[in-house]
Symmetry: C2
Subunit: 233 residues, 2 copies
DNA sequence: CTTCTGTCTTCTGTATACAGAGTACTTGAT
DNA sequence: ATCAAGTACTCTGTATACAGAAGACAGAAG
């Protein structure tokens, strides 16, 4: 790490800025958790991960503490951190809170969102439909999350967006593994279609209803894919 | 700066366990922020605070990262952490999210809470009324928070309770300074009276209504006490 | 008097060192 | 062969050391 660096070469983006190490480690750890490289319940070996990431334990531990407050890992005294494993009940509860937040945000969005922002959501929606038709699950998934975040953002409530983002982050892994069948995917797309129409019509009641239905269905879809997902309870 | 520091950390009863240092530092820092010892916008000098608490910078920095994820402090690259200063809009937004959460929780509580738990809330309420009649503002304040947390807990949704607790934590300082006048205090008590009655009657609609009113009023009460509270925006 | 610049101090960010608890392995007895 | 106790290794938690950036200050130039 403290090698004699030759400074006449630009090294376009290889170099990690001192001040961005924390963020960099955070993102790497989140990815490792979400992508299942660090499975739920597994311990985070600081020495090993630090070596793997090329940083010492000090900033790594700080990042782990940050993740602990985010709820992605759990701190166990004298035994370090383990990747948090969510049970079915916990997942259901989180999805219910997300539902509550999105319904409120959606209702508010119909009242206060400006037209340009709604057009922005429509564009995301069209892109997502495109991914659906091409069978591009990964980008569909990403756009799906982006759309939900965007709708929440339309409400113009920073705290609401933040809380929503945090919960969505925790569920990323759970939803990441869920490869639902064709008909479930189709119904999800259909719900999204209703959603964007309600939004464009600024029909708050319909928006709230369809969001409620969508999130309830989301839970059902997740639950069915939850058999051996290492989720106790 | 490297003076022999007198260990005046908690030391509540004898020995501090190795594994509890993290929690101890966290609580101390939270207290220092909530009680205004570290005013909003001020930088956290790691050396100074570490000496004051009798710990080295390493565990202190880890606690600061944790608080950053909680939203109590803000990390500024190469400049450390500063106590987060909330503007009026941010406070209003947070209170709105709390309102949303409490209304949902209150509604659900009327459906699923068991009788004993409701009796528990009633006891807290009676204690709070007692504090009101004795003019004991500090304990009134604490019981007030406890009651709201308890009502949310009645819904039996861990994620909901956690999100609610986090937001309430952030607002602790703001509400801590708010010394409202007699008539405002009286109306708050009156709202709480409605609240407990609605809960005992398991009247979900009324519960949601009174909670909505109570939280809206809470914002008004806070706003009026927000003049020179160092809150930009 | 103002402003710019070079230097010095202070503080953050990271790495390394060390002590103690946890974990696994080995050895001995039943 | 199984189980228990002792031992050695591993890993966490904390302290200290060090490099570099930010901020403060003083002196010189305009």
């Amino acid at each position: 790490m403290t090698q004699p660096v030759q400074n006449d070469l630009p090294l376009p983006e290889a170099r990690i800025e001192r001040h961005s190490l924390h963020e960099a480690i955070l993102n790497r750890l989140r990815d490792m958790i979400i992508e299942g490289h660090l499975p739920p319940g597994s311990r985070l070996n600081e020495g090993q991960i630090g070596a793997q990431l090329g940083v010492s334990r000090t900033p790594l531990r700080e990042a782990i503490k940050f993740l602990a407050s985010e709820g992605l890992v759990e701190l166990i005294p004298l035994r370090g951190a383990v990747v948090k494993a969510f049970g079915a009940k916990e997942i259901q509860d989180m999805l219910e809170v997300i539902r509550i937040l999105e319904q409120s945000a959606g209702t508010r969005a119909c009242e206060v969102a400006n037209d340009d922002a709604i057009v922005g959501v429509r564009k995301l929606h069209d892109q997502m439909i495109d991914c659906y038709q091409r069978g591009d699950r990964l980008n569909y998934y990403k756009l799906n999350q982006a759309i939900h975040s965007a709708i929440v953002a339309l409400a113009g409530n920073e705290a609401l967006s933040e809380v929503h983002a945090r919960l969505q982050m925790r569920l990323k892994r759970v939803r990441f593994i869920g490869h639902e069948g064709a008909e479930k995917w189709a119904s999800a797309v259909s719900e999204h279609q209703d959603m964007i129409e309600a939004l464009e019509a600024r029909d708050a009641q319909r928006m709230s209803d369809v969001l409620g239905r969508h999130l309830t269905q989301a839970w059902i879809r997740v639950r069915d894919n939850l058999e051996g997902a290492g989720a106790p309870g």
